[in-house]
């Protein structure tokens, strides 16, 4: 798994590549928490180059979404969710908890 972050004026984009499972999810969580701890709660998670995500990754997304939406201070949105991962998110009933966009620019513009 590889994580890179990019700051925009109104939001932060976190790009996660490769595979998120129980071994790598703690680092994914840390990247999300670091953004929240910096007082930033408008987050885009770019999954365009994500190959795989287990429920360990879903939990990190859920915990961050809760933190972001508290006091209406922000939101975590998803971009470029690959089909297999989207199917798993749907199965977990997660798709209704996250807005999704096809394109990062569209997501950045939404904030």
């Amino acid at each position: 798994m590889e994580i890179s972050t990019q700051e925009f004026k109104h939001c932060d984009l976190i790009k996660v590549k490769g595979r998120v499972d129980s071994a790598t999810a703690p680092d994914f969580s840390k990247a999300l928490e670091k953004t929240n701890n910096a007082g930033k709660f408008k987050i885009i998670v770019d999954m365009t180059e994500l190959e795989y995500m287990s429920s360990a990754g879903f939990r990190a997304l859920l915990a961050t979404q809760r933190n972001c939406k508290r006091y209406n201070r922000g939101e975590l949105v998803l971009v470029g969710v690959p089909e297999r991962i989207r199917e798993a998110l749907e199965l977990a009933g997660f798709t209704e908890l996250f807005k999704t966009f096809d394109d990062p620019i569209e997501a950045v513009g939404s904030f």
């Binding site: 429920s55 009933g93 908890l97």
Partner: protein, 136 residues
């Protein structure tokens, strides 16, 4: 039949998923089905490592994958504490964000992704989890 013993550590989940994919691909499962099988196996192994072997070092996990006609059978045997997936409460998938449960999701996915999940606790021969899925 493919059989491998893995150290019961999260770093080996990659290899467990690879083993499952290799056998399923040879057995003619579609890429969509292979992803589901990998996810189910990952969730099962993660639970064993996290719950059955909580805090145990140098533990191992036996994994087998077998194709029989249009059916794949994945088994995992461990010597940890019994952890029966059927005893895990199903998470409420309709709950609001604030009420969503963090736990139970892995087991829920396993059960949804596979046709059959069976668990037998045995302190002598090891706990045996059996998961079966048919093609198509």
């Amino acid at each position: 039949m493919a059989h491998s013993t893995f150290p019961a550590r999260f770093e080996f989940l990659d290899e467990i998923r690879d083993l499952v994919a290799e056998v399923a691909r040879e057995g003619g499962f579609s890429e969509k089905e292979i992803y589901s099988l990998q996810l189910a196996a990952d969730e099962a192994a993660s639970n064993i490592i996290e719950h059955a072997y909580a805090g145990v070092s140098n533990a191992s996990l036996d994994v087998t994958c077998d194709i029989d006609g249009d059916k794949i059978t994945i088994t995992m045997r461990d010597n940890g504490k019994p952890f029966d997936p059927s005893k895990v409460k199903q998470p409420n998938l309709k709950a609001d964000l604030s009420e969503r449960q963090i736990g139970g999701l892995g087991v829920y996915l396993m059960r949804k992704l596979m046709d059959n999940v069976h668990y037998e606790a045995n302190s002598r021969t090891g706990n045996l989890l059996t998961m079966i899925k048919r093609k198509g």
